[in-house]
Amino acid sequence: MKRKKQITNKTIVMTAVIGSLIVMGTMITNMLWTSRQTAMATSEAVGAVSTFYLEAMADRRAKTITNLINSNFDHMQKAVDFIAGEDIDSQEELRDCLGEIKSLLGLNRFALVDEDNVVYTQYTTYTGGSRHTFLTDAALNSRIITTVSLYGSSKQLCLAIPTPDLVIMGKNFKACFVQVDIREIVELLAFDDRGRTHFALYAKNGGNLSGTRLGPVIQDDNLFESLKGVIPDDVWEDNYRNFELEKNGSLALELEGAEESLCYVPIRGTGWEMAVLIRDSVIQDQIRNVSERSLKTTRIQIIFTLVTVLILATILLYQLGAISRAKLEEEKETSRSFRDMANTDSMTGVRNKHAYTEAEKIINEQIGSGELRNLAVVVGDINGLKHVNDTLGHAAGDQLIRDACTLICEYFKHGAVYRIGGDEFVVLLEGTGYDSMLETIRALNRKVEDNIKEDAVVVSIGYASLNPDDRQLRDVFERADQMMYERKKELKAMGAQTR
């Protein structure tokens, strides 16, 4: 029963430990596997994402410019309608009106052109036939988009609309046009980019219109001049043709081990191409950042779970241990109680016959091995117990037994007292008790003799010491028992009851 309890406790502990290790191992393995899978998926996704991301970005920016152009065309038409409704009688009034509109629209140039190709702006009136290419056609029938880059001026987008019904100061006006600085368009486009990508506007020949840098290879130079020798000739020619035909496309560059993706889309009606370039490592970094954030969260969750499991396991183990210890103590106590009950005389509280038998076994082994040299056995028997039982009842007899036991214990303080029969006691003496045995017995005997006169408890004592010839305790006991009977006779002679 005791052995079975110990195995159960160990099993619980082992199960808890092994279980925790398995849980932790599984979690760590799962985390590592997930990390590796994520890294592989990231690498595979970058290529696809680069192109998709850039195409979307280039397309969005191209649409922004298209919207800007359409918006300006709308504003121009409204402005022309407004001017047509004004009663303008002089050049000064016309200039004031043009100035107000230019200011309202926030443009570099807002101008009207009369039928003689004279251009009217807020501050100047000039013959513009050679300056504005869209005026080379005598008739202007539709909206026109051109790029202006004249004699070192900043590159500008010129938008013109016909004004067939506009008459001011008796003159017919053929066109209205505005010019938008391309740098302002670039600033508009750069607003939400935060420097993550490079972008630039190009003419059909690859000339940089925006003045923006397209990465370390191309910078702000002509796109195709920069790409010569950087990409294969056939790729170069394909992309050059795409520009000429106002088509979209993409290409990949590699410089000093860094891969870059470039996408371009045409901007409808302008002859421009919007090109966006990004280093693949930027996308990789972004995806990696997202992955790492996700993994970090997973790791935190795993660590939190592990810690929680560990804490719970520790608490559980502690509680199990406490319960086990309590149960063990309880069992030990019970065992001790049972053992005490088995070895204790219930009436007197001293060791009983069973205890004596166990002690006898041990002592016999010691005698057999020769390790026990000083041992004495005292045998005591109560005089007159039967008489008391018969005359005064068993309760008085029991009291006599307890009194006798008290008397014996009082004198043999350094000995082990056993009640081995109804009126029979044995005291085993070793050490101090052995050394003082004769004095103790003499004192007890004097007491007993006094008790005879006082009609108190009388105990007959016999004793014997271990002799070298003794083989077992019984040999010593018998000599002491013999002596006790002799003493009983002496006491009878003194007036004590014998039975």
Binding site: T125, S149, G152, K155, G206, N208
Partner: protein
């Protein structure tokens, strides 16, 4: 807001560096073939005006073929609004470049709170009669100053004197001044047209090893700048016994006419060795014809026409004299304001404000194209 980008400034500085190094590399030995030592592979020239504040002669380093970086001087205008009238020879990109310089000055005055309005007008074809009509009409209006790029000095100079006598403030500008005895108040522009003709022709002669047949294309009849350059060309060729002028034609500032004239000259002179072009339209028309006829004739010419610069880049044109039109326009407005306030040439401005001309060659064409027109097609 300035119209010229920083990039243009950088390019200008780069170009200047190229020009300086090229110039250093190309200076011929003194006394070799010509007394004129100013002809270099790349050079800038001006008239050597005696007035203070005028740009230095070509012996000094060339700062830039085109100076886009200008700031108004410390002069404080008397009024907050000026209204000018400018008229020039003909509608042509050359004067559009002048207009850009004018607009930059106008913007800078506006930043100082001074509004400048002006008309900048020209006929489709150069005409002294048309210019006379425009001037007389302008004189009837209340312009602060009238500026003229003289179409024909013999016709226009008396008209200007008449306007001055009537109290109108008149100045001349761009490439052609009035006659020496004209009463116009001041001139801003090229004062060294004769020397430009000399320098271009000298470059041609050297290229031809000082022998061969040469044609001269001139612009408008009577236009001082064109006539002066043609004179410089003739005088230079006259110095070399083995060189011969086989034709002198006027294209009236028309590219198409220059083309037709060149075809005719080539037809008459299949062994033509070179052409001196005295205006902006001459070299374009000549280059078209030379290309078409696959002639080996060497072309030297004036100005910065985009098509001409491309021909220069491709080696069809040998060299071009580029005038700083931008600075001409800018300085014209600045001088006009001072004249409007009643000032006369002296400490505030010279009687002739000179602007540089830079001769550029094939190796400089790409940079000049980028500088003036951007890299767009």
């Amino acid at each position: 807001m300035r119209i010229i980008s920083k990039k243009a400034g950088v390019l200008a500085a780069t170009l200047a560096t190229v020009l300086v190094f090229s110039s250093c590399a190309g200076v011929p030995a003194a006394g070799e073939h010509s007394e004129n030592t100013s002809t270099t592979e790349i050079e800038s020239t001006d008239s050597g005006s005696s007035d203070k504040g005028v740009a230095a002669r070509s012996s000094e380093s060339v700062d830039s073929a085109v100076d886009f970086e200008h700031e108004l001087d410390e002069y404080e205008p008397h009024k907050d609004h000026y209204n000018f009238y400018f008229t020039y020879k003909t509608v042509h990109p050359w004067w559009d470049a002048v207009a850009l310089g004018m607009e930059e000055a106008q913007r800078q005055f506006l930043d100082k709170g001074i509004t400048i309005t002006y008309e900048y007008m020209a006929p489709e074809g150069a005409s002294a009669e048309d210019q006379t009509e425009r001037l007389l009409a302008a004189a009837q209006k209340d312009y602060d100053v009238i500026g003229v790029d003289v179409a024909d000095e013999e016709v226009i100079s008396p008209v200007l004197d008449e306007l001055i006598d009537e109290g109108t403030k008149v100045m001349t500008f761009s490439s052609s001044d009035a006659s020496e005895d004209c009463k116009r108040i001041a001139y801003v522009g090229n004062t060294h047209n004769y020397q430009d003709g000399v320098d271009l022709t000298e470059a041609l002669c050297k290229k031809l090893d000082y022998k061969g047949k040469v044609a001269i294309l001139v612009g408008s009849v009577g236009a001082p700048c064109h006539e002066d350059r043609a004179r410089g060309a003739k005088d230079t060729i006259a110095q070399y016994a083995d060189m011969e002028i086989v034709a002198v034609e006027y294209d009236m500032d028309s590219v198409d006419l220059a083309y037709d004239l060149t075809l005719k000259i080539l037809e008459d002179n299949p062994d033509l060795d070179g052409i001196v072009c005295c205006n902006m339209s001459n070299p374009v028309g000549a280059a078209r014809a030379i290309t078409e006829k696959e002639s080996d004739a060497v072309i030297v010419g004036m100005d910065h026409d985009e098509e001409a610069l491309k021909y220069l880049h491709d080696g069809v044109i040998y060299c071009l004299g580029v005038q700083d039109c931008y600075s001409i326009g800018y300085d014209t407005i600045q001088v006009a304001v001072k004249i409007a306030d009643g000032n006369v040439p002296g400490a505030l401005f010279p009687e002739k404000t000179d602007e540089i001309t830079t001769v550029i060659y094939q190796e400089d064409a790409a940079l000049m194209l980028e500088l003036l027109y951007g890299d767009i097609l």
